[in-house]
């Protein structure tokens, strides 16, 4: 049995559940919405990631003996609430954007429908997963755009907590990276893994030549040799001398990369190693990658900046009650009114409006009542954005596992093509397309 995820939850969710069981509101049907009020860092689009992970974690959102004992012993909630949680299993419905889809301010990324008791306690887990994974995917997509056709590998595991590292490798792959250094991401999610040697390999040996020779004996001349442990020019000369002109590649992890890359390319060509590829891996982010576009670099490895969202490690999404049943059973749209944090109440349907294949606006329709037909067939030039992820408690397994990752990556690369050209610039600006809220009926 896998570990329970049920206590990856803020205490107040269970406190509210407890009080709602007492006062009879626990059974009120509710609509919670997960969305971002704005895009972090003047980004022009966000990338939805984490959906497939969240669905698998939802399967393990059960209160086992250890979790129940903690809640009882610490008196987090009443005995009646503990009994309620013994049998808890989410039985509501979740619709949401496909993983890999783009999002904009106010996009209803996830809509969770169910009783208050069912839905309120998913807040923290849903936000933890979606905020982290979407932040990484959003940064990764910008890097992938900057890299163009050159291969891009994620190698930032050491700069992220151990489980986050695996999730980050997954999010980066969905957003266009081609490989990861993280082996667990390879095992769990089917992502290609890469890597040959660190500086420790050279330092372990009595000479750099000995290190290179041994690596080539083990991995063949197609391997990539790390040439900057001592002196780069001497390292390159030695690498070609040891491996021959068929050497697969050299990696550079330090120095002023545009200058160093040009020097190394000249040296390799002069030595006859014209097919030897140059990989650079030193503190890259989307701006550094863009600055190397004209340099003779063949591949990039990105660490810290991708796994930390390149300055914005969380997507800032929130999980808000937007509609509920009242005492009379009728539906009421609700939203907080406090200063500066207004949000749109009501259940929403979302469409991307396209003109000649180019995205023009994010259309978010607010339903008057609970039942709205969101039949996409009658919407010209609009693409419906929401799919059913959980149907009355039944999780759609198509979004999970390695298959879900492949589908999400393909979807991301496809919908990215719909963006207007201005969306591809790296500078800070407004969202690439506006979000337009409307009552049902406009189109």
């Amino acid at each position: 049995m896998r570990a329970s995820t049920a206590l990856m939850t803020d205490r107040y969710e269970l406190t509210m559940l407890d009080a709602a069981l007492r006062d009879g509101t626990a059974g009120r049907n509710c609509v919670f919405e997960l969305f971002a009020r704005r895009l972090s860092g003047g980004r022009r689009f966000g990338v939805v990631a984490g959906t497939g992970r969240l669905l698998s974690l939802l399967r393990d959102f059960r209160f086992g003996d250890d979790e129940l004992r903690f809640l009882r012993d610490e008196r987090v909630v009443s005995p009646a609430a503990v009994r309620h949680l013994e049998d808890y299993r989410f039985s509501g419905t979740i619709t949401g954007y496909r993983e890999g889809e783009l999002y904009f301010p106010g996009s209803p990324v996830l809509t969770v429908e169910g009783s208050f008791a069912d839905a309120v306690i998913l807040e923290t887990l849903a936000l933890s997963v979606m905020n982290h994974d979407s932040a990484v995917a959003t940064a990764a997509s910008r890097m992938s755009i900057a890299a163009g056709d050159r291969p891009l590998a994620e190698m930032g595991s050491r700069r992220a907590a151990e489980h986050s590292a695996v999730a980050a490798a997954r999010a980066a792959f969905i957003a266009g990276f081609g490989a990861t250094s993280n082996l667990e991401a390879g095992r769990l999610w089917g992502i290609p893994t890469m890597g040959t040697a660190a500086h420790a390999w050279t330092l372990l040996h009595d000479t750099e030549e000995g290190a290179f020779r041994s690596q080539i004996d083990a991995l063949g001349t197609g391997t990539t040799l790390l040439v900057d442990t001592y002196d780069i020019a001497r390292g390159v000369e030695l690498a070609v001398r040891v491996a021959g002109t068929g050497l697969g590649g050299v990696r550079i992890d330090s120095g002023d990369l545009p200058i160093v890359a040009a020097d190394v390319r000249s040296q390799l060509d002069a030595l006859g190693a014209t097919g030897t590829r140059i990989t650079v891996t030193s503190d890259l982010d989307e701006y550094a990658i863009a600055a190397l576009a004209a340099s003779p670099v063949d591949a990039y490895g990105v660490g810290t900046s991708v796994v930390t969202g390149s300055g914005y490690p969380t997507a800032g999404m929130v999980y808000k009650l937007v509609a509920r049943q009242g005492a009379d059973g009728g539906w009421v749209a609700v939203s907080k009114k406090a200063e500066g944090k207004n949000s749109q109440g009501g259940r929403k349907s979302a469409f991307r409006r396209l003109v000649r294949g180019v995205a023009r606006e994010e259309l978010v329709e607010i339903a008057d009542g609970f039942e709205i037909s969101a039949d996409p067939g009658d919407i010209a030039d609009s693409r419906p954005l929401q799919v059913t992820l959980v149907d009355h408690g039944a999780i759609d397994a198509a979004h999970e596992g390695p298959q879900g990752v492949r589908t999400a990556r393909a979807h991301h690369l496809r919908v990215r093509e719909e963006l207007p050209v201005r969306a591809l610039a790296l500078s800070k600006s407004d969202p690439a397309i506006p979000t337009v809220f409307s009552d049902a009926g406009r189109r």
Copy 2:
């Protein structure tokens, strides 16, 4: 059985292991060091965190059937290397700073000694844990200093990936926070948990009064009511009307906090609720907390900024080979010489030199040979910083679990008192004390 951590590893570590098994260097004894070249963000000190977690994760660093099958099927390493990994268990020695200790540039936070094969493959896991947890603890300690005697709670789980959230709650507690909203952190690490209600609680009910009344019925008048869902002044008036002047507290999650806190305090006092406490929770960081020092605030809740390291989500520590045995069995200090990334080779002993109880410098002695006596008894006014965490494969359990967390927190609060006054300022500057490298003999 707990999940294996063995593939939370960059592929190149296993590739190097594989090649080292072939060329005979796998058995060379090595010293790897985990340290930070600089303090992120102009911080004046860093806080070591993650040590206790790392030791527990090291217990699970075993290659099971699933991990071995992946390595074999994907041909990550040769069959001989897969056979070697079947029996892998770290049998070396790890010394390091106590969890909760302060660190400075070049402090040998962890020293890992063992064969190359034993030690090289711990790089990613060790860095993932220490970089994340230390980044959070360093930010948290600054917030704890800024908060002074006022209680401080961590509530950022939703802005960190689901496992990182638990680790962040732990790191913040070690660095001086008093509680967390994260229930799993309470269960796993014994950290006090807190929380009462979100805006969804008020919105669920037909009226704000109904929500407040129900919460008080469930949790008593000592509870904290969230008063900013609609209008704060009306919320405060209502809260006291419903709960009476014995109301425990009100929470404010929006607005211009210095102004709002003063207004709410005046209103509470005028209503006779002079003992009702004010908790603020809106986008706080160490600077906002410091700016509220003169405001009538009784407690702080901090979310995003603490779990993301307040702008610096990773501590930037590295794991470097610093000494190894040569072909003749003698020890050789090694270090990379490439531009801009020099580090000090050699095995190190570290001491904090104090004058009248105030820290003056971080003394890092570099041993000439491998065997150096680091008997602290003969060092006047110096405090030895390293302890044995793993002794020839035997993990010291005293650092693990809730007991380890309590010990680390007490240690942190004690050693923070040794800092010079200038170390407590929040502005960017140099490290509070210099790191002095010396050959053994000076003192």
